[in-house]
């Protein structure tokens, strides 16, 4: 939750990704309350409507749910769901970029696979 925001993508997307990452890292636990939009707004000096947009994205995908009059909570199963979705996005977000860079550099697929196999972790 304490990452710096950058200009690379929309602030509300960064807010929702940060909360997701905190769930993956057990900084936020399932069935636990997440910070309110006003708290997030003050922490990042952003408009509360922007923070709310990030939170609502997670509500729509079932990662968070609303308890009336209390706030937003992490849903049971949220961690598994985030991991599943990020796996699906792994190709698009990471592999495609690697393949494009490899193409520019003239690195063949075989060389790429070789690199992966030789890497330590």
């Amino acid at each position: 939750m304490n990452e710096y925001l950058n200009q690379e993508k929309s602030i509300y997307l960064q807010i929702s990704e940060m909360i997701e990452t905190d769930i993956l890292r057990d900084i936020l636990l399932e069935e636990e309350k997440v910070p309110s939009t006003n708290e997030l707004a003050k922490l990042y000096s952003i408009n509360p409507a922007t923070a709310a947009k990030g939170i609502n994205l997670l509500v729509d995908s079932g990662i968070l749910y609303k308890k009336r009059g209390i706030g937003m909570f992490v849903a049971t199963g949220a961690k598994a769901q985030i991991r599943e979705r990020r796996k699906e996005e792994f190709y698009e977000h990471y592999l495609q970029a690697i393949l494009q860079e490899a193409l520019h550099l003239g690195i063949s697929k075989e060389e790429l696979i070789e690199m992966i196999q030789q890497s330590k972790n």
């Binding site: 690379e8 993508k9 929309s10 509300y12 003050k42 000096s45 509360p48 922007t50």
Partner: protein, 296 residues
């Protein structure tokens, strides 16, 4: 609350023969923080003065919740425009002390929050006994910020509140503004040149250029249709066909441009170009930096 709009219709403002504001229509809705951005001399301060009835419009009218604002105390009770302070007034040096200035504000604003003014003075490290004429530029900004926040007015206009403030004090201001906004839902219209820092505070952005409102839009939605495109010049040219491009730059075979899509329009796909998001500041420079946009 939805009726408590500030609406201006067809506002023209001339100083002598020079027309500063050209037929401006604008609606300020309650419960939002607006950013007002524009270059020096674009008409920001004049617009704020007219909206807050501190300066009469040459023609057109401003209403709050349906009431005329000009010389109408009932409407003015809800509006605060905390002007930039100067060391010198029309009558010589500004010898008023900070606390005298706050007392005048207390008499003027029906909901003045004395405790808040005191607290903010302490937090900004501002001495109430000092004369306005002896304050630094940054300290004068602090006084105007305190008046704006403690006025508790439903619609509060702030004209370059962070001018001359160091980065720590600016950060303090942004937090205080958000604090006040989240607690009360008051409406703020804030003009600034430090766009990069404040962009994320603004639910809506109003861009004024040469006395015209160039755009007024939800900041997130505006940025979602703005991109920077770069790559090999002929590929970029092909890509830009049918799009509106600003601030086109060439270096050798390389070309870059800022694109503002029309609402609903999509970026073409399948081109070997780099597509990057654009910050409000970069978009501002692209829109205001050059005189002409090129539709290709």
């Amino acid at each position: 609350m939805s009726d408590f709009k500030l609406v201006c219709n067809d506002i023209v403002k001339k100083y002598g023969k020079k027309e500063i504001l050209h037929n401006i229509d604008l609606e300020i809705e309650p419960g939002k923080i607006y950013g007002l951005i524009g270059r020096n001399g674009a008409g920001k301060t004049t617009l704020l003065s007219v909206l807050s009835a501190q300066t009469p419009a040459t023609s057109g009218n401003v209403t709050y919740s349906g009431m005329q604002v000009w010389e109408n105390q009932e409407a003015l009770d809800h509006i605060c425009f905390s002007r930039e302070l100067n060391a010198v007034s029309a009558y010589g040096p500004n010898n008023l002390k900070v606390k005298d200035y706050f007392e005048a504000a207390e008499a003027f604003f029906p909901n003045w929050d004395k405790e808040m003014a005191k607290r903010l003075c302490k937090e900004f490290g501002l001495e109430e006994k000092k004369k306005i004429s002896k304050l630094s530029k940054g300290m004068m900004s602090m006084v105007t910020i305190i008046v704006a926040l403690a006025s508790k007015a439903d619609i509060t206009f702030m004209d370059e509140p962070v001018a001359g403030l160091d980065i720590v004090a600016r950060d303090q201001f942004y937090r205080e503004l958000l604090n006040e906004y989240t607690e009360t839902g008051r409406t703020f219209v804030v003009s600034t040149h430090i766009i990069e820092e404040a962009a994320d505070l603004f639910e809506e952005t109003i861009l004024i250029k040469d006395g015209n409102i160039l755009l007024k839009e939800n900041t997130l939605e505006l940025l979602e249709r703005a991109y920077h495109i770069s790559g090999k010049a002929d590929v970029v040219d092909e890509f830009l066909k049918g799009l509106t491009a600003y601030r086109i730059e060439n270096i050798g075979r390389s070309k870059g441009a800022t694109v503002l899509l029309n609402p609903g329009q999509e970026l073409p796909t399948g081109f070997d170009v780099t597509v990057q998001p654009v910050s409000l500041q970069n978009l501002f420079v692209a829109l205001c930096g050059s005189d002409t946009a090129s539709g290709m």
